[in-house]
Amino acid sequence: MLRTRYLLPVLGGLLMLGLAACDETTSNVGLGLVEEGAEPVVRELTPTVFEQLPFNDVTGAQPRVLAGRVIDPLVGTITTAGYFDFTTSFDTTKTEPFTSATLRLTLDYVYGDTTAPVTLNLHDIDEDWESLGRRADTTVTVGDMITSLTFEPTDTLVTVDLPEAWIAANNETLRSSLFSVDFHGLALEAVSSEAVVGFNFSGSALRLITEADTFDFDLTRTISNIRREGEPVVPEGRVLLQDGTGPNITLDFDLDGFDDKPLHGAILRVFADTASVKAASPNFVRPLVETVQLVQVTDAEDVFLIAETTLSDDGDYRFTDPRLSALLQQKFFGVDLFDHLELRLPVDDNTINFMLLYDAASGETAPEALLTISP
């Protein structure tokens, strides 16, 4: 006799068996019974807009400060001035007066002629200034010239002894508890230069010596003022992308007809004219732009990084980050998360490097977007 108390367990067991039997196997048998046509396709788009966009990079509070002037036949004359300040973790309020002051600057960037010496003037800065978020067109009012320094662009460490008069005039301030308030920093301005150089925070300091001790005041805040004189002479069919003083490149595509299409992937590729950039005299250094960023700029001019990529061996910059695809997918859905897209260079490099990119009329080397969609 099948006892009733066994019924539910038996039924439950069979139920579990039935559910466990469900599998995930799939098959292409019977493919002819479905309406195919969902195969993804790749659409190649050439930008409708691929233009230079005036831009001043953020140079404030960066770990490198620029100084010097360079005359480049392609991008014109670029003059830079560096402003920097110091901080100290030492309590120097009870120390003996400083007897010596040396500015030690670690040189880690050169753009221009490496054979011509660089002469810069060192100035006091007499008024307070802010660095955070300041851009390349920011100027700081400088005070009296302290001294000038001349060095080779290939040097790795530049040192300059500050005059006794400067030490005497600033001895109290340098040893004051209000040092960070009363001392406003120094400025380097170009006098005679065929190159722009960059000094890095790391290893750079104002070395102050007493009879008994040596103190290094580290660099704290910086601004690099960068200005271009004249217009760049960009070869036809190229657009200029340059760090520091700009320009950036704005780009746009005609996405009509993509409404509500499923987007599987997006690749943005721009081709670089590295030959033109490399075609300089033997001692003229133009560091190649290694990393390029693709950013979205909103109506409120907020900037969000979408992707960044490096120069490939094929001489192109290729963006494949899924965030680009996600952003365009939202645009297909009618959700505009950006006002426009831009190509720009990383902020924290703080260089004046540039790259020439082929424009939208360059045929096979024109920039392109490869959109993989389902029809």
Partner: protein
């Protein structure tokens, strides 16, 4: 003193709980699986019917069938002949082998629920009520293709991708109604049938390369409608022998208009984007006409034969439906289902015979000319054998039915596929006497 007035036993409570569990969980689970017949892609899906586990084992008809041990939901008129309050619930396990013209084949398995059913005799053998929650149709398929795409013509980069065409969901129905034994041999009945459900068709594209995003583009159609079923059974006893009875029955389900809302979505689960505007439209299901004959002999033998006809050529839809394009030859065909079966219960009504004599043995068949025709002029026919055992329990009126089904559907001609399928189901039927005053304390 009324001691057992409306006091369901633990067994019936268990069935109610199991039924609730099946009703609430299994439809969702079943709809999440995509491993059934490709023919379920067309129309509103593979039509399902479950009138009782007894009728299921006898070919799936049973329009004229009535029984002490079952409430038969193929004809509301049969609800008049109930003695016990009944509840039944069950599920089924299906296996399927799909074969194409090149003799490629693939096997699928799936579990799904049969139905949750209740029958209440308001007046024994006179007026009865029925309530059922059961599938009306099921969409359940998945087929995929693998290919290669050149993603960057300049660099000749390629990636492997897979497209999976999937369908899931289906229609459910809740039916409730009354049966009345109007005159001695004649019973009539009617039910109100609520049909509802969601059918989802999707195209899922996945890539081998991580640079590409998987997408799932799905069309989700939500449908709801109401119809009604009416039926009659005429029974004549002592026709050819002193203990026989012949029943002739007919049942009609009226055409139903389902209100459909369709949305195109992209994405997964809750993280879906709706594309475009939601589309609304009516879907008109045809009537269903059933005729049946049942012959009961010596309380041991039961024979049934049924015909079911549904004019799906009159199907209309304002929404696009796979296999249906208005104004063209791409429409549906009338459905014809023929079935027959026999039950042998060696012990008859006796409770004193040995256990195996009180087991009911059933056998049946059915032929179903499907309403879908993916290739114009080519019928999709199903031929199947059914059978089963009904195992009695200690509690009188309670049985566990184990049914099986094996058959074939379709053809490999015209790029179609042949399904060879089998199914095993288990249904628990519990019957109790309610609303009865005890004569002794």
């Amino acid at each position: 003193m009324i001691r057992r007035f409306f006091s369901p036993s633990r067994c019936l409570q268990g069935v109610l709980m199991l039924g609730l569990m099946l009703g609430l969980t299994l439809p969702a689970a079943a709809q999440g699986r995509d491993d059934g017949s490709l023919y379920s892609r067309f129309g509103v899906g593979d039509l399902r019917a479950f009138s009782s586990s007894q009728a299921q084992a006898m070919g799936g008809g049973g329009t004229a069938l009535w029984s002490f041990n079952y409430t038969n939901f193929s004809n509301p008129a049969s609800w008049s002949r109930q003695v016990l309050v009944r509840a039944s619930a069950g599920f089924r396990f299906d296996g399927l082998q799909v074969t194409d013209a090149d003799d490629n084949s693939k096997n699928f398995t799936a579990g799904s629920f049969n139905a949750v059913q209740f029958g209440v005799p308001l007046k024994a053998n006179r007026i009865g009520m029925g309530l059922t929650f059961e599938p009306y149709s099921r969409v359940n398929y998945r087929v995929q293709t693998l290919s290669q795409l050149v993603t960057d013509p300049t660099r000749l980069d390629t990636t492997i991708y897979q497209i999976s065409y999937e369908g899931s969901g289906g229609l459910q129905q809740v039916r409730a109604g009354l049966g009345w034994r109007a005159a001695g041999p004649l019973s009539i009945g009617a039910s109100l049938d609520f049909i509802f459900g969601i059918v989802e068709e999707g195209t899922r594209t996945t890539f081998a390369s991580p640079d590409f995003t998987e997408t799932n583009l799905a069309t989700s159609t939500r449908m709801f409608g109401v119809t009604a079923t009416t039926g009659a059974i005429y029974s004549k006893s002592n026709l050819f022998a002193t203990t026989d009875e012949l029943s002739v029955a007919a049942s009609l389900t009226l055409p139903a208009t389902l209100n459909g809302d369709r949305a195109l979505t992209l994405g997964e689960s809750l993280n879906r984007d709706t594309l475009g505007a939601q589309v609304e439209g009516d879907i008109n299901l045809p009537m269903s006409l059933r005729f049946g004959v049942a012959y009961f002999l010596q309380n041991r033998w039961t024979f049934v034969a049924d015909v079911r006809y549904e004019p799906w050529s009159q199907f209309e839809s304002e929404l696009s439906i796979p296999g249906y394009t208005p104004g063209t030859a791409d429409t549906f065909r009338d459905r014809l289902r023929l079935s027959g079966g026999v039950e042998f219960l060696p012990a008859g009504p006796s409770f004193l015979e040995s256990y195996f004599k009180r087991v009911a043995y059933r056998l049946g068949f059915y032929y179903d000319q499907a309403y879908v025709s993916p290739v114009a002029g080519t019928d999709i026919n199903t031929i199947a054998l059914t059978g089963g055992f009904s195992l009695p329990a200690l509690l009188a009126g309670t049985r566990l039915d184990i049914n099986f089904e094996v058959g074939a559907r379709g053809t490999t001609d015209h790029n179609l596929v042949r399904d060879r399928f089998y199914g095993v189901s288990a249904t628990l039927n519990v019957g109790e006497r309610w609303f009865v005053k005890r004569k002794l304390n």
